[in-house]
Point group: D2
Chain length 316, copies 4
């Protein structure tokens, strides 16, 4: 691995959460009750009560119950280059939040209201807090991490023009955070590669160690300067370049080596009733909305763009 960013330097002794053995915990609904289980090497899910289930055939719940969800705006060089034409977006990370009601599980429906046009995918990895955490250094932060999850930080970019940057409506709507299927510890997150797929075609790709500007230990230490992080809290670590919009019926997946694959399907939903009464900022199709929703293709690798075109064509 080659970590060119200083804040991705690891301590000499790899923190326990990055060392093996790898443990993947999942939470499934079996006939009306939620159960925790551990993924087995043969791909079966062993519930804690001993039942062995076909992991593929289960109904998944999010493997987290956070009191808050904080997301890094930009933490990948390619995303910084795409949105700002800069290798590094700023000297320090910046953040927004998603409410817990945005949580969604593996193979969830990602809801797109009828009056919206741009529902963008963003494949990410999430960090889950294991121990209460405030006023720590980056080195100390590792001990406060429970594990990592694949996640999709979906966004209704039609609301890009409102909320003055907080993105409450862009990123905060119900179902816009598929996460899981597992919560994984014992994996060196810096050695992994993240890939996002639309209808099975690769549309985002990044090596986490080589492309991430700030590691989870840095981000935790940054936030915990002023905010207490509690067990279960979730931090979304940003997406690489080529976040684009998807349509009802399309399937989005984020697969991270070592962590697993989260998948969701875009589903159409009626426009909210209050919208018909003129309540609230209307979904818009402005240059700024388009700038983010459609992205800036110049720096995106050609094969990712072509794959997305193929996915769209396949639906036409």
């Amino acid at each position: 691995m080659n970590f060119e960013f200083p804040f991705n330097e690891l301590p000499d002794a790899l923190p326990a959460v990055l060392r093996g053995p790898r443990i993947e915990r999942r939470r499934v609904l079996v006939g009306g009750s939620a159960f925790w289980g551990t993924l087995q090497q043969d791909g079966q899910l062993r519930l804690d009560d001993g039942r062995l289930l076909d992991a593929e055939a289960q109904s998944y719940l999010p493997p987290v119950e956070p009191s808050k969800i904080i997301a890094v705006h930009i933490s990948y060089r390619s995303r910084s280059m795409e949105t700002r034409n800069q290798d590094k977006p700023s000297d320090t990370p910046t953040y927004f939040t998603k409410p817990p009601t945005a949580l969604n599980g593996h193979r969830g429906q990602i809801l797109k209201p009828a009056d919206c046009r741009y529902l963008n995918y963003e494949g990410e990895y999430a960090v889950v807090i294991g121990r209460t955490c405030r006023n720590v250094t980056p080195d100390e932060a590792w001990d406060h991490i429970e594990g990592f999850c694949p996640a999709l930080d979906m966004g209704l970019q039609d609301f890009r023009d409102t909320d003055q940057g907080s993105m409450l409506r862009v990123k905060g709507a119900d179902t816009l955070l598929p996460i899981g299927p597992g919560l994984v510890r014992g994996v060196n997150i810096f050695a992994q590669t993240l890939r996002t797929y639309v209808d099975g075609l690769l549309v985002q790709e990044a090596h986490i160690g080589e492309e991430t500007i700030w590691g989870p230990h840095y981000v935790i230490a940054d936030i915990a300067r002023h905010i207490t992080l509690l067990p279960g809290d979730v931090i979304l670590m940003g997406t690489p370049c080529h976040s684009r919009s998807v349509d009802p019926g399309q399937t989005v997946a984020c697969e991270i080596t070592g962590l697993g694959r989260i998948e969701g399907t875009v589903a159409a939903i009626a426009a909210p009733r209050a919208a018909a009464l003129g309540v609230g900022h209307r979904p818009a199709d402005t240059p700024e909305v388009r700038r983010v929703a459609l992205g800036f293709d110049a720096r995106v690798p050609e094969h990712l763009k072509q794959n997305l075109q193929r996915a769209r064509a396949g639906r036409a």
Copy 2:
């Protein structure tokens, strides 16, 4: 209605939670996210976001998230007669608790460990607290009720001999409290009839107003003498006579007019690993276990007994 027990007297003006309009709220898992919805008159479930779903085809979660679950031991005359040969069990109700991990949803799997023999059904109605409640009178208690649910207070009677009456292991195991599918308000609970079915055959039946010894307002006032009840807390109101054991593969349902029908299926599960090491009280088959698990048939209506025999025969 004919309420012969003094504590089932209602105030002159029917409390709001007993008056219409009837509202039934349900919580379902749709592709990884839990959603609340309201049952429509045509039987469809309208999610709050506007989606209309076939209520029958959904995956249900319990419609409650209690911080505590308190259960009345005996609150029906027929059950009192059966277990103690007395029309009224005691001057005042008595209670035990179930942990929140016992919650199960509609059409849940009710787990029966391989080393257990007697998993008994008990059809009940549950009261759900709506407002924080301490030190109230029965008349005041009505305003603190959010609504009612059908429930099955399942019990592993093999553990009857242990825990000195607390019934932690009898009633507290995971999945032993199917509840739902809806949380209903606007229904006069005293005018309803409760029926329990095994494999579709009627095995318990009682008119709540005529057979219940203590109403929910009395029970709330009693418990809240010393214990603060919080929003979401659940009180199980006891079962009529003819609680009997069921086997893996059998389906149990509790249907209450006005409230709905909760259903669960008994599923076999391996004995716990610690049991093989000799840890803990072993499931037993003693006279006391049998007394409760098998019940005392003399006072049970003949057709209920015959139906249970037919259900068992149907499986042989």
Copy 3:
């Protein structure tokens, strides 16, 4: 009352949460346990267990336990005028969030890190959700309100330049949301006047009905277009003009007629340890920070400005 904004129109029949009788619920810590109680007309606090306490002498906890806290950016004409020189900030409200860890109780310490300079007060009223709420109209929204609280939406404006508008670090730090002492229902919020005090001197003042651009029913309907609001969720309704910074030792209070008075004292705290390591965006003193932190005095009533000067002089 004179509601000049269309969205402050009330239905003909005043909603129950705005009608009497007035009920104020408070939560206090008495020797290691939190207890709920109701404020009596004589100013005593009657705990639910019957104890009568001197309300003034208690240790207060926030009277809410929200899963999310959403704040309106600007909802008062005077604040819009001050910050944008416009009578109305935009056609529709915009929002940001505060994490639950920001909650603070009555007479709390509001922490100001040693490396920060601008900790601004903002007196507000909070709306507390009573029933799960999604996809409602403004008229329906009233039934989903549990009540109202006085609140102080404090902000570390030194972080104005970071987080691209989400204000996570400006508004999200621990202790930056004193709220309470009570949760009040049965009061017509539109008929009330909000006043903020620094060291007892009036520094903000607004008649809620006459100056608020959007009422709580509108705001709930707006947010619930896409986001499920859960019982206990808190919405902060914005502040009138003259938000300014305060220093350690100063006391800030927000008093709202009909609702009560929340108070907090600014307390100095060391800079976070990670800051010394160069982690994270540093508190800054830029023109943009100053624009917001110091405000724009031209439109602020003279007596409010003079009072703040007197409060500061009193500390010199």
Copy 4:
């Protein structure tokens, strides 16, 4: 140490939760907000945000937020001898539960209703679950323990005759579980001594390793055979002999070497309003109530009995 009971045998390598370094976490209310901190060797409490406080001068909250609280009936030889005249109460432990509303903090008020006579102390240590736990062996259970707390399992023995052994009213009333001040890990619980004091005079004493019949790993494995234990769940590990009743004004403390000292004061409270209406089982003064409330002095060490007499005389 001399562990004569087989289930107190430890694995060869001491589990991490029993090994040092010792860490004690506490939660205090500072002016309206709850803060976590770590106790320093000099006795000061360092809040996570860096503030150093005089630990003695703080307002304490319970250092746990359990979803369930399970208590062992009898786990000390001396208690078994006292109540049943047997060295060992049964082959396996038995349990009851307390609702979370019973939680109380250090220096809490323990409420005794005016119509009750026997409020008994029971000094205990509590086990706090750190990781979700189901179907584990005793050896595996250690890794699921977060730490230990001193606790007082107070009981209103006037209700001994009701609830058929579940002890909901005996042990479940508000404030009957003082716990804390800290949650401690890194201490060998088996090497510690528990002492209970009334008004500063020693009234219970037991060496945990030598007198406890079942260790926490056994108890966890036993309960988790059927019940999922969740992070934060609390297990109370029983009390040694000489549980007796105390009166308003008296102070009770449980001090455990290595863990710390929890203290509470008995405070009188009016009888509940519903009691005056004849609702519920009345507090009773029967032989069975007296048997438990007053205990059986024959086997209690003389100095403990004399100390309690002195404590009572000091109040006469």
